[in-house]
Each structure stands twice: as structure tokens, then as C-alpha cells.
């Protein structure tokens, strides 16, 4: 932060910091869901495409039902419903079907993207609803709505992970699946629930993002979100081997990632090279985790 402040005075302006927070919210919310999946020893690569699919779905439902409060509500509920189904399907395929999570969600990544591309014919879903678009652009007490949801979402997730039976089981299953099973924990269902939580997180993000933008691009919305979400969790101390991690860690991991992204822009690093930096950060974070374990 200090370094970027010196390098680029624009960085420290309140407005810029608020912007970073705001920009980070979308990936941050998804990263919170990913944290559950990863602590339970899984991985979810499908979140980026899922953002596009669910965002497009929400817009389409509102467009069909008309521009009023009720149709927006129905659209949001229907999108959450769809994501719960997708999460269940992923979780059941991984656990009961014994297909590795990497494969199932890699497949999901391709499937969701191709579906949204197909329905949009490669183009863009535009929202025709003022009501819907007002969600993502609203401010509460001068704070951008997405940012508020991010903080609220992280707080609830933290309580679930550290204060409930499900949260404890998520850690137990990720730390040692066999011991958890012998301890009479319904291991499969714990893992299925983590994919549902991931899906719900994606919905939350997709609604905020698509309403803010007023549109979803079938080809580019959500691209690379899976990388950012995993990076945020890993930077925050979540182990790719499962059993370790925290929501607070992921929250700050996401913010750090946001700061780095912002710095790269301010310092005029070529857009194309930003992926290189992120890739190196993930690899470096895991490397450091391994070092500290020894």
C-alpha cells in the first residue's frame, strides 16, 4: 500500500480505495464460497462461467417478467434456486459419482460457458429493467451496495465456518476424510454442501455484477474469476490440500489481490501481463505455505 502510494499518488485517494474495495467485492464473494470448497479438500473451477450463465439467467427472467419489483425478486430467487441445483449436481457427481472435483468443475466451466454463448448467440444479454440495474449501482450510507454485501456475506460465512457443526465438519472432512467417515460424519453431504455454498456465492456475485453492468457478455463476463477466487483464498492461507483456511484470510486475500490489480493499472503494466503477475502470486503463495509447514 505504502509503496504503491509513493509510486502513484492517485492510489491513496479515498475514492480509489473505495473503488478497489468495490471492484474486489465480486471476486471476493465468490472466493468466500471457494474457501468452503477448498477447506473440504475440493476445488471449483466452474465459478467464472457460472457467473456469466447465472447473470444472463437473472437478466433474462427479469426481461421476460417486466420491469417491476416483484419480477426482480422472482428472478433473484430463481437464480439462487438454479445455483443450488447446479451445486447439488456438482457435489453429487464428485461424491457419489466419485469423479474428481477437478474434472467435474473443469467440465462445468466448459459447459456453462458454452450454454450461455449458445443462448446469447455469442453476444450480450442486455437488461431492459431499470429496477434490476438499480441494485448494483446503489449506495447505502455512501458505501457501494456490492461492497456492503461483500462485508455482510463474509461475516455470515465466517460465523457458519467457525461456529456451526457444518463448518467444523468441513474442516474435519478436508483434514482427513477417512477419520471423518469413521467418526460417523456424513462426509459426502458435507462436501456436497460446500458446492452448494459455492453456487450460492456465485449467484450473489452474478446478480451484483450483471445489475451493475446492466448486461452480461456471453464471451467475457466472469473470465478468469476462478483463478482470482482461488488466488484470494490461497493468499489468505487456505490450503489446497484441505483442512486449513479462514474467511477472514480470504477476505483480506481478495483485498490484497484487488490492491495488486489496481497497482498494475496505475503503474501502467500492460493489461496482457496482469495474468502473469496473478499466476506468479498463486504459485508464490502456495510455495510459502509449504515452506511454513516445514
Amino acid at each position: 500500500m505504502i509503496i504503491s502510494g509513493i509510486l502513484s499518488p492517485a492510489f491513496l485517494k479515498v475514492r480509489n480505495i473505495l473503488n478497489i474495495f468495490w471492484q474486489t467485492s465480486y471476486v471476493g464473494i465468490i472466493a468466500i464460497g471457494a474457501t468452503f470448497v477448498m477447506i473440504a479438500g475440493g476445488i471449483d473451477l466452474s465459478v467464472g462461467s457460472m457467473v456469466a450463465l447465472l447473470g444472463a439467467f437473472a437478466i433474462e427472467v427479469v426481461n421476460k417478467l417486466g420491469d417491476n419489483f416483484l419480477s426482480v425478486l422472482v428472478a433473484i430467487l430463481a437464480t439462487y434456486g438454479l445455483s443450488v441445483l447446479l451445486g447439488l449436481a456438482t457435489g453429487i457427481t464428485v461424491t457419489k459419482g466419485k469423479v474428481p472435483a477437478f474434472v467435474v468443475t473443469l467440465g462445468g466451466m466448459a459447459i456453462y460457458r458454452s450454454l450461455v454463448l449458445n443462448f446469447a448467440n455469442g453476444g450480450v444479454y442486455m437488461s431492459m429493467s431499470q429496477k434490476y440495474s438499480s441494485i448494483g449501482m446503489s449506495f447505502v450510507l455512501g458505501i457501494p451496495f456490492p461492497m456492503l454485501i461483500f462485508i455482510l456475506y463474509a461475516t455470515i460465512a465466517h460465523i457458519i465456518l467457525s461456529g456451526t457443526k457444518l463448518g467444523r465438519y468441513v474442516f474435519a472432512v478436508g483434514a482427513n476424510e477417512t477419520s471423518a467417515y469413521y467418526s460417523a460424519i456424513k462426509v459426502d453431504w458435507v462436501r456436497i454442501w460446500t458446492y452448494v455454498i459455492s453456487g450460492v456465492s456465485v449467484t450473489t456475485s452474478a446478480i451484483l455484477l450483471s445489475s451493475m453492468m446492466g448486461s452480461v457478455s456471453s464471451s467475457s463476463t466472469g473470465n478468469g474469476f476462478e483463478l482470482d477466487a482461488i488466488a484470494a483464498a490461497v493468499i489468505g492461507g487456505t490450503s489446497l490440500n484441505g483442512g486449513k483456511g479462514s474467511i477472514i484470510g480470504t477476505f483480506f486475500g481478495a483485498l490484497i489481490l484487488g490492491v495488486i490489480n489496481n497497482m498494475l493499472v496505475m503503474l501502467n503494466v500492460a493489461v496482457y501481463l496482469q495474468g502473469t503477475v496473478k499466476g506468479l502470486i498463486i504459485i508464490g503463495a502456495v510455495f510459502l505455505q509449504n515452506l511454513s509447514r516445514e
Binding site: 457443526k165 467444523r168 477419520s179 456424513k186
Partner: protein
């Protein structure tokens, strides 16, 4: 040639500032079998890792063939010093000969010379009168056979000093005998063997010289034949042993648990019939692979049942999963603590409360309630732990096992199925675990089924014993009939 193949002079070792080995002098002659004994944490493994180059000493010298040497794993290997760890270094998905030559492959310019490796493997195997085909997949072998493959692998690298860490912990009596024959043949070829075990009877049987470690210090090195098991055990714990086993419980008349015509889908358990009285410790003995563990896993719902009835407290139960068993008051202590019992990277108290979190929920999980439950077990079971938040991995084996037992007791279960409850646990912790079992019978009206390969244990604690062979229960021994001879007779069928 120097008389000693290896000597240590004043070896000390610190781990993060804590001294775990204190100036150990030891010496190993050619072609002699050494037994190293000590409680868990006495420094056996650390000393062996230093001798085989995997750890560097903080102070002191290692002398190999009369020359002071700085060892690392590669150099140790080149000098013929080979360590066979407790968890074997073999690859399940490779064949026997591929494992033997793993990292040591014979190859031509480009391709591996498979025929030559198979032939060499066969020679090695035959040289030690073993019958294992070099072409079999490792995954098809029994734990005992895998052990033998690991030894053959060591010999193929021209081992001169072979260190075996707890090689017998998963073996049955007869397999141990096979292993001992192999060790004696190696001795005949001039190989020095260092044998680490918790089973004093075995150490006394095979070792010519015994080294006793206690709290990181060598307290004895000398000929084995002058010592009794009791004397060795007393040196290990540093005080007189009161009796190892508590008085046997007095079971009630009523049958609390009954299994009828029980078979598993995979055929590992066939037509099992047995019953347990309330407050009884019922032993199950048999060789590895005789179906004891499989029978218990079928009862608890981990393995699929083909047919049969379970009757608990007069009620017929249908159990298809560990959670159904738990709800009915039946819990299982798995034989493999590390992979199925303890959760190593969780804090100790979280292990204890894992199976009954409901007790600690007041809207949310209440940490203070969990910790106080854990602390009550620290007192009751004498668990040695720095704090409830200590990561379970850093506890000794015995303390880990006590934590796992506390987790099971927390469920409020009345029937405890313990599979190898004292495996890899030191003498003191063993005694404590037997006393905990007795205590549970007296205080919470518990009943125990104990599967064990440890003969003295089975004899020492059981009211009755069923013996299994090839998936069937072949004998029921009443208290007076339980003897080493009877158990082995029924288990082997000879």
C-alpha cells in the same frame, strides 16, 4: 577390518532448542542382531534417522568402519546403511521386481533390462527361501509379504547395516517367525540388523544385544540373554512395573449384543455367530487377513452386509453406516490411528468433541464448553497435552489414542469395538488404556469387543476370546482356556 561397522560417540540432537538425544554412545558389530527398545519419545527414531543419515546430529561423531563420517541419505546408502521405516516405501501400483529395483533400475543404453531384473529378484527371493513371484502386483500382497519385499529391496542394494523400525507391528505370530528366520539368514551373511519394537518378547527372542533408551539417554547396552522382559520394561520406564493388566472385569449374566449368521458382500466374513455379555471384554484373535477387522467393519456399517442379524439390548438393528451405529450406541476404534482415528491437523479438543458437537451448541458452537469437556478427559485419561489447542499431530501415539477414545466415549455409546487399541503405543500408555477400559466398564456400564494381534494383550485383558481364520469364527475360548498355545493353534489351524 574394524570390528565395528558403526559407532556413535556423544551424539546429541536438538529440535527447535529442545534436546531430544543426550550424548548417546553406541556401537554396532558386524553380523550381530541388535534390539533397540524405549517408550515412544525416548529417541529411538531420532537416533536411527541420524545413523541412516536422514538427520544430522547437533553434537557428536558417527564412525563408520573406523572412520569419522558425515552421513547423508545418499552416502549412508552407498555405505550399505539402509533404514526400513514403519510406513513402507513401496509403490502399490508396481510389480514386486519393479519395487525391488525402484531407483536402482538395471538398464541398457535406452531401455530397462526387465528380464535381468526379474531374474535377479527371483534369485534374491529364493536365497531367503521365500515364495513371492517377482511379477505380482504389490497391491495383491499381504502386509507381511510387503515387509519382506522391502527387506529384499534393501538387500539388493548390498545392505550391510539394516535398520527396521517396528517391522512386526502389523504381522501375526507366524509371519513374525518368518521374518525372524529371514533376519537370522541375513546375520549368517554378515549383515548387521537393528530391530526396533515395542514387543519386548520379540526383542528378547531375536536380539543378541539390547540397547535401552529412556528420555533421550542410553540407559543400557548389553547381551539380551541375561535380561527378563520385566527387567527390560522396568529399565524403559525407569521404575518398577506394577502389573501390566488390571484385574479382569466381572461380566453380567445377560447377553447385551449378539450377531447371527453374519456375512459380508465381499466374502471376507462368513457366517459369523457370537455374543457379548454386558460389562465383558471380548477378545477377537486371528492372523492378519483372517477377517476380524472386516467383521467389525461390517457390524459398524462400513462394509456391505450380505445377510445376518444384529441384536443389541434385545432389539434387532439394521445398521448401514457409521452414523446409524453411533445413533444406536455402538462405536468403533479403527486399527489405523493415523489414517482413520485421529485428525492430525486439528486441535486436540476438536478431535474429542467431533462426534458429539450437539452438546456444545447454544445457537453456535461454544468453545469454552468444548474445551471444558476436553479438559475433563485430560484429567480422567491422564492425557499429556500442553493445551487443548495443541495440534493433535504433535501428541505422542498414546496420547493421540486416548483422545480418539475420548471422542468415542463422548457419543454416550455403550458398546465399544476396539481394533488394535494399543498398536504403536508405549508401555505406559498401554497400561493406562487398559485401565481406562476397566474404568469405562465400571463407570458408564460399557462393554468391549477388542480385536488384537498382541497375544499378551488378548490373554491379559479378555474374559473370552473368539478366534477367526479365513473369514470364519473357528473357536470360542473361555477364560481358563485362553493361552498362547490355544490361540495360535486355532488361528493357524495347525
Amino acid at each position: 577390518m574394524d570390528e565395528f561397522i558403526l559407532e556413535t560417540k556423544g551424539i546429541s540432537r536438538d529440535f527447535s532448542g529442545v534436546r531430544v538425544l543426550h550424548s548417546v554412545d553406541s556401537s554396532f558389530k558386524r553380523g550381530i542382531i541388535y534390539g533397540i527398545v524405549g517408550e515412544n519419545g525416548a529417541g529411538k527414531s531420532t537416533l536411527m534417522k541420524i545413523i541412516s543419515g536422514f538427520l544430522q546430529p547437533t553434537e557428536g561423531k558417527i564412525i563408520v568402519d573406523g572412520k569419522e563420517t558425515n552421513l547423508n541419505p545418499l552416502k549412508a546408502k552407498a555405505l550399505g546403511i539402509v533404514l526400513i521405516p514403519q510406513e513402507l516405501n513401496l509403490v502399490d501400483s508396481l510389480r514386486v521386481y519393479e519395487n525391488i529395483f525402484l531407483g536402482n533400475e538395471i538398464s541398457g543404453k535406452i531401455l530397462l533390462r526387465k528380464k535381468e531384473m526379474i531374474e535377479r529378484s527371483r534369485e534374491l527371493i529364493e536365497r531367503f527361501n521365500l515364495v513371492i513371484s517377482p511379477l505380482r502386483m504389490l497391491s495383491e500382497l499381504s502386509p507381511a509379504e510387503k515387509q519382506l519385499v522391502e527387506i529384499i529391496k534393501a538387500i539388493s542394494k548390498n545392505a550391510r547395516l539394516l535398520i527396521m523400525d517396528e517391522p512386526t507391528s502389523t504381522l501375526s505370530e507366524r509371519e513374525v517367525e518368518n521374518l525372524f528366520n529371514l533376519i537370522k539368514r541375513m546375520k549368517g551373511e554378515g549383515i548387521t540388523v537393528i530391530f526396533i519394537s515395542h514387543r519386548l518378547k520379540e526383542v528378547k527372542e531375536i536380539a543378541e544385544e539390547i540397547i535401552v533408551l529412556r528420555d533421550g539417554r542410553k540407559v543400557f547396552q548389553g547381551p539380551a540373554k541375561d535380561l527378563s522382559e520385566r527387567e527390560i520394561a522396568e529399565m524403559m520406564v525407569g521404575r518398577k512395573l506394577s502389573e501390566m493388566y488390571p484385574e479382569k472385569p466381572k461380566p453380567k449374566e445377560n447377553v447385551v449384543f449378539k450377531v447371527e449368521d453374519f456375512s459380508s458382500v465381499d466374502g471376507k466374513v462368513k457366517d459369523a455367530n457370537f455374543e457379548v455379555h454386558e460389562g465383558e471384554i471380548l477378545g477377537f484373535y486371528g492372523l492378519v487377513g483372517s477377517g476380524r477387522t472386516e467383521l467389525m467393519e461390517t457390524i459398524i456399517g462400513i462394509r456391505k452386509k450380505l445377510r445376518g442379524k444384529i441384536i443389541f439390548k434385545g432389539e434387532e438393528l439394521s445398521i448401514n453406516s457409521p452414523w446409524e451405529a453411533k445413533d444406536r450406541g455402538i462405536v468403533y476404534l479403527p486399527e489405523d490411528r493415523k489414517s482413520a482415528g485421529i485428525i492430525e491437523i486439528l486441535e486436540s479438543y476438536k478431535n474429542t468433541t467431533l462426534m458429539n458437537l450437539e452438546k456444545h451448541i447454544q445457537l453456535l458452537l461454544k468453545k469454552s464448553s468444548e474445551v471444558s469437556t476436553f479438559n475433563s478427559y485430560v484429567d480422567w485419561f491422564s492425557i499429556k497435552v500442553r493445551s487443548p489447542y495443541q495440534i493433535a499431530k504433535t501428541l505422542s501415539g498414546g496420547n493421540q489414542q486416548k483422545v480418539v477414545i475420548s471422542k468415542l466415549v463422548e457419543t454416550g455409546a455403550k458398546l465399544f469395538i476396539f481394533d488394535e487399541p494399543t498398536r504403536g503405543v508405549d508401555v505406559n500408555a498401554k497400561r493406562q488404556i487398559y485401565r481406562i477400559m476397566r474404568d469405562l466398564i465400571d463407570k458408564i456400564n460399557a462393554t468391549f469387543i477388542v480385536v488384537s494381534s498382541d497375544l499378551p494383550e488378548i490373554i491379559g485383558i479378555s474374559n473370552r476370546v473368539y478366534v477367526m481364520r479365513s473369514g470364519r469364527i473357528v473357536a470360542e475360548l473361555q477364560e481358563k482356556e485362553i493361552s498362547e498355545k490355544n490361540l495360535i493353534y486355532h488361528a493357524t489351524g495347525v
